[in-house]
């Protein structure tokens, strides 16, 4: 079996080319996922680039991204497969005249009548794919079991039809916002990656690559202020995407050097709770 990546460094460089700045952990685990053929469970606060990681890996390897958005009430007919019963009905009615029952009853449970859903689609694909199972913590514990077969064996068993094995092993990413504890069975099958807020230097680099027209000086200032704010005891610390929004705003306003006043006036882009905004504004203005 051939591997997608040669080395950790290659993953890192590749991701950088598609404007995703990975740290040592992220690149290392993406590399391992390929080598071990295991899915990756990505966990961390909202807005730190968990979903973006899967997208960027897909872009980097030139694979098709198949996405399954999880929600409460997701079931197998939406995640795995469904029989196209309308087509089955038509097939039966079309053959009503002749008495070819023997032909039909096996026939209507054939591949022609199968509607593939994201998970089945990912393993039957001929070309390379990246499968993203987004916000897996939103489904009920019972529904998680649906994922287990595909995650460990890369196959789907359909009672009327048999077992469909993957033609090639896709890279699988599951993301979770950690609103509930995932089951042991699921965790055991995955590599675990915790994506946290980036450190200051990486955040600065992210701002520089993602926001057009931002100067080095401004990016540095932004990263420092955001780090300062994250240290406060807030309801919701600013995420990377909010940092980027803030940077874009400052660029649009033509600000080259943020002072306390300007920072205070644009805080509502960074923070989403009134109590947080008040607290941060207070901290930024009359410190010491």
């Amino acid at each position: 079996m051939s591997y997608r990546f040669e080395s950790v460094q290659q993953v890192r460089d590749g991701l950088k080319k598609v404007n995703y700045l990975a740290d040592e952990g992220i690149a290392g685990i993406a590399f391992l996922a390929d080598r071990l053929g295991k899915p990756v469970l990505v966990e961390g606060p909202a807005g730190t680039g968990k979903t973006q990681l899967a997208k960027s890996i897909a872009e980097m390897t030139g694979a098709r991204l198949i996405r399954l958005q999880c929600y409460e009430g997701l079931d197998e007919s939406k995640a795995l497969y469904e029989w196209n019963y309308k087509k089955q009905l038509l097939r039966i009615q079309a053959d009503k005249s002749s008495d070819a029952w023997e032909d039909i009853h096996d026939d209507i449970f054939g591949e022609d009548f199968l509607l593939t859903r994201p998970l089945l689609e990912a393993i039957t694909a001929e070309e390379p794919v990246v499968l993203l199972i987004d916000e897996v913590d939103r489904v009920e514990v019972e529904t998680e079991a649906l994922l287990l077969e595909i995650l460990s064996e890369y196959q789907v068993s359909i009672p009327e039809f048999g077992t469909i094995k993957a033609k090639q092993i896709p890279l699988v990413f599951l993301t979770s916002n950690n609103t509930r504890e995932l089951s042991e069975a699921l965790k055991r099958r995955c590599l675990f990656l915790h994506v946290d807020y980036p450190d200051m230097d990486r955040e600065k680099q992210i701002v520089l690559t993602k926001v057009p027209g931002v100067t080095e000086h401004l990016a540095d200032q932004i990263a420092r202020i955001v780090r300062s704010i994250r240290q406060l005891d807030l309801k919701k610390a600013p995420s990377v995407s909010e940092t980027l929004d803030w940077a874009a705003t400052l660029v649009l306003l033509g600000i080259e050097n943020v002072d306390a006043q300007q920072a205070k006036e644009t805080l509502h882009i960074l923070l989403k709770y009134q109590s947080d905004i008040a607290k941060a504004a207070k901290e930024l203005s009359d410190d010491n």
């Binding site: 080598r35 509930r180 410190d287």
Partner: protein, 476 residues
């Protein structure tokens, strides 16, 4: 290598991390793809396969440092495990390392020069220089001797005391001010301070790591890991938590409340089905040609309980009361009403503090400073506090109310007035007592939890977050 990894995993299990057999096998496979020389990548490879909960990451890191700190490229160790040999060898290697790091023999530096160098390293945030200096500082100040039975914290304290990092921060700030030639605006001042502080923190970690490395070389990984073993955040005892552990607990509390709220809401929604919803069933029967093939049921809407929390906030149990209040208020959406009272020997209602602000920790801070809880001498008097509570607020307790009494029931031999709890039990839906003390201490000395407990619906031991969580889950 296999032996090392097996020892490592055994130690992880000893530290309380759940590592299954498959995860163990995964780790073995993973490290075949990653060279051990690449320390960071190696660490993440092990972490990704063995640790499936971010709260456990710190424990993992400590154990990893202990087991693998000597296996970096600079620290090749010969196979004979003689401690003295090791010690000498390490020092030689360290001197080579320093030569590269600082561009000169560091041993000959005067203390002033060394401080100068350290300041420079901290200002530029130069990691390699900081590491070299940390080694040097440990060499000079810690006074480590092989075989001496002293904990790492002692050496750390000695080293840091000699370096005097607090005044270093001020000096650094002064230097930044001079650099711009004049005063900094308050924003700049703040940012600079954060920058320096984080660099100093990094340096401290380097020193700590260095001390740990040497201790491991001296004593061996297993013995070292045992002394460093720390409880996981959910197992830290409220009553004996250090300041650092407290901060960790607070951090662990937030995701926990989110999880708890989601779980409770889900439980409420998916509880037993309600009675038949006739209108909805008929509506759906239309798609089956009028046959009610798919019965529909009403969603049950169980009443949310009303909660009254009465907490002892005297010295020893204050931390526990704070955590319970935080937890309760973080999920207050799950209750129709929450009222809270705090007492030492007097009692005061503090519900208002929580209503006035969104920020629970601010309300808790106000409790500590403003609540009027001292009646005579500021020693716990459960009896008096309960009596006053019953006279003033007893009429508000109804059959929908659940009362939580928090405390260790150490009454300083005052009158117990346990009739209050008895009457409370008759009026309220439930009365529970949460005790942060280990069960074996109950009813010893001046603790009379048994007397109060006999009138409640149950006394629960709540020594750590795990126990507190499982109780709250049961409650709502």
């Amino acid at each position: 290598m296999l032996d090392l990894l097996t020892g490592f995993i055994t130690e992880l299990r000893n530290a309380g991390l759940p590592v299954s057999l498959t995860e163990n096998l995964d780790a073995m496979e993973a490290i075949q793809h990653i060279p051990i020389e690449d320390r960071e990548a190696f660490k993440y490879a092990l972490g990704a396969t063995l640790v499936k909960n971010h709260a456990h990451w710190r424990s993992f890191e400590t154990v990893f440092e202990v087991y693998f700190s000597l296996r970096g490229p600079q620290y090749q160790i010969s196979e004979n495990g003689d401690a003295d040999d090791l010690w000498r060898e390490m020092q030689e290697q360290m001197q080579q390392g320093e030569g590269r790091g600082a561009g000169g023999a560091m041993n000959s530096l005067t203390p002033e020069e060394m401080m100068q160098l350290l300041m420079q390293a901290l200002r530029s945030g130069d990691q390699a220089l900081m590491r070299a200096l940390a080694k040097q500082a440990v060499n000079r100040f810690a006074g480590m001797e092989p075989g001496r039975p002293v904990g790492g914290t002692y050496y750390l304290y000695r080293t840091l005391r000699n370096l005097d990092l607090d005044s270093m921060l001020e000096k650094l700030m002064e230097a930044s001010r001079q650099e711009v030639g004049g005063d900094l605006t308050s924003l700049e001042e703040r940012l600079e301070r954060d920058e320096h502080q984080s660099n100093i923190e990094k340096f401290k970690q380097e020193v700590e790591a260095e001390i740990r490395r040497r201790l491991v070389a001296d004593r061996g990984a297993e013995a070292m890991a045992k002394t460093l073993r720390k409880p996981l955040p959910e197992d830290v005892e409220f009553m004996h938590a250090s300041r650092e552990e407290m901060a960790g607990l607070k951090k662990a509390l937030q995701p926990l409340t989110r999880k708890l709220a989601a779980k409770l809401a889900r439980k409420r929604r998916h509880a037993r089905k309600g009675p038949l919803d006739f209108r909805n069933t008929v509506r759906h029967s239309l798609s089956y040609g009028g046959v009610p093939a798919e019965p529909k049921f009403k969603f049950p809407r169980p009443a949310k309980p009303e909660l009254v929390v009465v907490a002892d906030i005297s010295g020893s149990v204050a931390a526990f009361a704070r955590f319970t209040l935080m937890l309760v208020y973080a999920i207050q959406g799950q209750f129709s009403k929450v009222r809270s009272f705090v007492f030492i020997d007097g009692i005061d209602e503090v519900t208002e503090y929580f209503r006035a602000t969104e920020d629970v920790s601010e309300a808790i801070a106000r409790i500590n400073t403003e609540a009027d809880v001292i009646w005579v001498d500021g020693h716990s008097d459960y009896g008096h506090a309960f009596e006053v509570f019953w006279n003033k607020y007893g009429k508000d307790i109804s059959s929908r109310t659940t009362v939580l009494l928090l405390g260790d029931a150490r009454n300083n031999y005052h009158a117990s007035q346990s009739w209050v709890v008895k009457e409370m039990k008759q009026k309220a839906r439930h009365v529970y007592w949460l005790n942060p003390e280990p069960r074996s201490y109950w009813n010893t000395g001046d603790s009379i939890v048994g007397e109060y407990g006999s009138f409640t619906d149950g006394v629960y031991e709540c020594r750590n977050l795990r126990q507190l969580e499982s109780f709250v889950e049961k409650l709502a």
